[in-house]
Structures are given as structure tokens and as C-alpha cells.
Symmetry: C2
Subunit: 332 residues, 2 copies
């Protein structure tokens, strides 16, 4: 039984309870329910476990920041505004509490930046360091975006170039050394990723945005996930490679496109946009955020996905993380 | 730095963000916020970690049930109705997925029984089995009960006799053997505790109930916690010992009262009730639920607590679980 099968079995066990207030259940970036007529609340959980999702070499501040960023990014992907979170901490017996506080402070700092209030949690002994964060956000019912919803003909875009976080991982683990500027950019992208909350809320306000998710598992995995959720076929025509990813791939003799297709944790957003609206939307986006959307392909009728190379279309395979095989955490 | 100091330091890091929608933050059974004018949502998180909160000897069904019960009990303590939950699972590499499904199914069964919808979660590799459940409930603003709120003169009551779960733990770990009927009762109380949701909602509807919490950490610890939160002094006059706890304590040559004061995980509710209202409230409670409230003492002005023994009042000490020292999980 692999991760997909286990999650399918777990989902099947969960679905027998039907609650008409629940609008989005298992399988999207976050779940959504309707606490009142005019509002939707959304919720998402991520567990991060030492030795699986991070090593202590990353440093306490980066561990805390990344855990919070991953959760905030799930809210961004729904177009939601952060409201509150709970944090459960597993702390090893010999752990210095100062280190735990440093980690927690970094998460709290990022939370504060986005008006996310930490309302509670849990502290328990654990064999390894463990953080489980649950975030709750709020979005107007007409604005919420899901992973499903892409239409044939929709353009696929990202909110930025990709691969810097993977390059930072390679740098931090000593696999490559980049020239000074890029080295810092890559490490910063890996240790202190910025969730795209303002971009998510802005994109969510447009009716031309049909589907949205965050790029946590790698472009190939996340595009195929959106295609499957939407019942469409994804055609990737262009992969936006960040300069640090280009340098890190070439330093290791790797193909930059392959490198980025499998590179997770950039936390840019992936959106499906009505083709007629793209140009105008992108010009407004550029004015608002100082950089444009990166058009990476389009959806068509069908299933699966392909990537257009020099020799025509080849099947697109998920080269990102299978959470149980490779260790990353699945979104809710 | 002990648990209390660590939690205080973590709380201090969390409080700098002020959000007027948040009504209850860190420190109660659950946090509460106001998603709309007429409703309150409440949220609580518990992490359960193998080797700390449970051993595999408990069996998969009991592990799943207990994790869900602990979380539902936090909603009961706020007087809230369950709405939804997320479940993050940490699964060891060599774990049989069938066992994980059995555990999850038991939690899902209890969730369904109380109309709690599982809306998402996370599955990740972990060195030991780990469950982190976050529950969300709903309560009318005028009905929500907190741990704080007890007034001088209030009677302290529980929704039932205590200690059966501890007796079941002793039985399951081979420390005692009780006669057949009690053996089963104790094991059942330990493995499949029932959260007091109907009682919690019923008690929450009464304005004579001034404070409420659930008995997860032991009577002494939880009473002192309510006293401290309310700024009152607790006087315990009578400890309601369940028959299995009486048998288990006496089989081990232990004082039954001491045994119960330190016995956690019964998940009965602890309430502070206006003294004038107690008799009538208790008669209605008895009619509704088939058994009465157990009056255990009273609050008075002051701080700390005492227990009335044969030789007068002696100071009441928290003999329940300190989460970091003894391993149980703190409520949010």
C-alpha cells in the first residue's frame, strides 16, 4: 500500500459522516465549512517531523519559520485570510528549551506578520522534535478557490520562478557551492520561504482564476494533482527556472527543467486562468506585485499530463515528493 | 525550565498578536473565536505519541478511540457541539498500514457517533506512531463555559465517579487483577472512554454553571487548574471513587482517595455551580442522564486548594500529570 492508497483508504473511512456545513473535505489544500451564511472558514494541518521533514542542521529559526510558512501557504492557496492557529510541539527529553523557544519564536514572528493569532496547542515529550500546526482562515464564499475547477483551455501560471528552495537545500547539504549572491538567495528561499498570502487573496478575487493550489511538492506533482482534481489534462510548455536553480542544476550536471519539475517547497501559487483574461490580469498583477505571472502551460480535455520538449510532447510524470516514500507532508 | 515555565514562555511569544475576533486564547480546554455575530467556533489540539501517551500493547482500536475521545472531551468541556476535525498521522516505516487503518477507523467511528466530520489531515513518516488531532466545535456565545469563572461559594461537582481509567491501566499493565465484572469495566473505561458531550451541552445551557473543564489530568490537577484560572481557592470535601478504582487501589495497598486524586483520563466533566441552584439542577440532570452529579467540594475566596481529611484541611497538591515530566498532553 503506497501513500496514495493509504490516503484513499483513510478518506473512505472519513466520508460516511455527511455534514451539510462542510463545503470542502479531504483532498484540497484546506477544508472549508460555513460557520454562518456570509462566511467560510478554512482549515489545514501539517505535521513536520525531525529526520523526515527537516534536520537540526537547518537551525531552530528556519525550522519554526518553515513549519508556519507551509501552513500559511495552504491558506494562500484557498484565497483565504489567516485567522488563528494551534501548535502541537513534541519535544525530546534532552532538548534545550531555549532552542524550542527560538523555533517557536520564529514561527510566531511569521504568524504575526500575517495577522495569524496562535490560540493554543499542546506540548508533549517525543522521541524527536515534532511540530504539528493547524491553521484556520476566512474567505468570502464567492472567492474561495479550489484545486479542482480548471477548464479546458485555461492557462496554467505560477506566481514566480521555481527551484530556489531546492537549490538552497543542495547548498545547505554541501552538494553545490554557488557564487555569493545566488548562494544567499537560495539559502534564504529554503530556510525562510514567504507564503503568497497577498497574491492568493488578490487572485482569489478574480472570477477568471478557476483553480489554485500552492507549489509545495514540486511543479510536476502539483500540476498533475490539479489536473486530476479538475478532471483535465495538463500540458506544460515552459518551466520557469530561478537563477539559483539554474546554477545549482548546472553545477551538478543536471537538466534544469528536470531539476525544477521535482523541486518542492517554493510555495509559489499555481493557478488556472481563463485564457482571454490572462493578459489583462497579468498586467494588473504585475502592477500590484512588481513582477508578472509565469505562464507555464495550459489545460485541455482529457487526463494525465505532458511536457512539450524539443522533440514534441512527452508524458509528464510526478517527480515531486510522495509523502510516505520521500518524507514530505501531505496537505489536508 | 519545567512544563509550566515552558508553556508560559510559549504563551508570551504568542500573545503579541491581538485579534478582536479571538475570545479565548491559550490556556483553556479550547480556544474560541467569533466567525460571525451569532456563533462562536472553538478549537482544540492534542498530540498523542507512542511510548509517551500510549504503548502499542493498548491495541490499535483503543489508540484511535482514545485520541479522538480526548479531543471531543475538550469540546464537551466548552459546552460545544462537534463540527469537524483534522488528523495528522505519523507512521513508522515498517508499520503495517492495516494497523493504521484499524486505529483510524476506531477514531472515525467515535467521530461519526458525535457528528464530527473528518475534513482532512496529513500522513507522514515518523520514527514512532503519532496522532495529532485538531477538533473544531460550535457553541452559542451565551453558553460557552470556560475553566475560569468559578465564584466563591460555588459547589464543585463531577459528572461521575472517578479512577476507572487508571484502574484499567493498572489491569492492562498487569499490576492488578480485579474480579470479572470490574476488570471489564476498568479496561473499557481505559481503552474506550466516552466524552461527555451531551452532559457538557446540557450543563452549558445553565447560567448557574459558572465554569467547566474536563478531567483529563487527574482530579487534584484539574481542580487546582480551575481554581487558578478562576482566581479562587478549591476545597475538596469528598472524592467520588469508582468501584473499580476502589478495588484496584486496595489490591495495591494504596489509599483510594490518593489513587483517584492522581488518576487522569476519566473524561468526566468538572463544574462549578452556584450553590442555590445545585439541588434543582442535579435533580434535572439525574432525570436527564440517569445518574446524578457528584458534589466534591466548593470554591472560596483565596488561592490554592485544600482537601478535608479526618484530621482537618491539608493542602491539595497537583498529583496528576505534568505533561513534560510524565508524558500526557496539555490541552490547548
Amino acid at each position: 500500500m503506497n501513500e496514495t492508497e493509504l490516503i484513499a483508504a483513510l478518506s473512505a473511512l472519513s466520508e460516511s459522516s455527511t455534514n451539510r456545513k462542510i463545503l470542502v473535505g479531504i483532498g484540497d489544500d484546506a477544508a472549508a465549512w460555513r460557520p454562518s451564511r456570509s462566511r467560510l472558514s478554512v482549515i489545514s494541518t501539517d505535521a513536520l517531523i525531525e529526520g523526515v521533514h527537516f534536520t537540526r542542521a537547518l537551525g531552530n529559526e528556519a525550522i519554526g519559520h518553515r513549519a508556519m510558512a507551509a501552513n500559511l501557504s495552504d491558506l494562500a492557496a484557498m484565497g483565504a485570510r489567516p485567522v488563528l492557529c494551534t501548535i502541537a510541539l513534541g519535544v525530546p527529553r534532552d532538548e534545550l528549551h531555549e532552542g524550542v523557544l527560538e523555533m517557536y519564536a520564529a514561527g510566531a514572528r511569521l504568524a504575526r506578520e500575517y495577522n495569524l493569532t496562535i490560540v493554543g496547542g499542546d506540548v508533549a515529550r517525543s522521541p524527536v522534535l515534532m511540530l504539528c500546526i493547524t491553521v484556520v482562515g476566512e474567505v468570502r464564499p464567492t472567492r474561495m478557490k479550489r484545486r479542482a475547477g480548471a477548464k479546458p483551455g485555461d492557462l496554467i501560471a505560477t506566481t514566480g520562478a521555481l527551484g530556489a528552495s531546492r537549490a538552497g537545500l543542495d547548498v545547505s547539504q554541501g552538494r553545490v557551492h554557488l557564487r555569493d549572491g545566488l548562494q544567499d538567495v537560495a539559502l534564504r528561499a529554503h530556510c525562510f520561504p514567504q507564503p503568497r498570502l497577498a497574491m492568493g487573496a488578490w487572485l482569489a478575487a478574480s472570477q477568471s482564476v478557476h483553480a489554485m493550489t500552492d507549489l509545495s511538492d514540486g511543479l510536476s506533482t502539483d500540476v498533475l494533482h490539479m489536473a486530476r482534481s479538475s478532471g483535465r489534462r495538463a500540458i506544460l510548455e515552459r518551466v520557469p527556472v530561478s537563477s539559483s536553480a539554474l546554477a545549482a542544476a548546472s553545477a551538478q550536471g543536471m537538466d534544469a527543467t528536470e531539476y525544477v519539475l521535482a523541486a518542492g517547497e517554493d510555495y509559489e501559487l499555481l493557478v488556472a486562468i481563463a485564457p482571454r483574461a490572462f493578459r489583462y490580469l497579468n498586467s494588473r498583477f504585475t502592477k500590484r506585485f512588481g513582477s508578472g505571472l509565469e505562464c507555464v502551460g495550459r489545460f485541455e480535455a482529457g487526463e494525465g499530463g505532458a511536457i512539450v520538449g524539443s522533440s514534441g510532447e512527452v508524458p509528464l510524470k510526478a517527480s515531486g515528493w510522495d509523502h510516505l516514500r520521500r518524507g514530505d507532508s501531505a496537505g489536508s
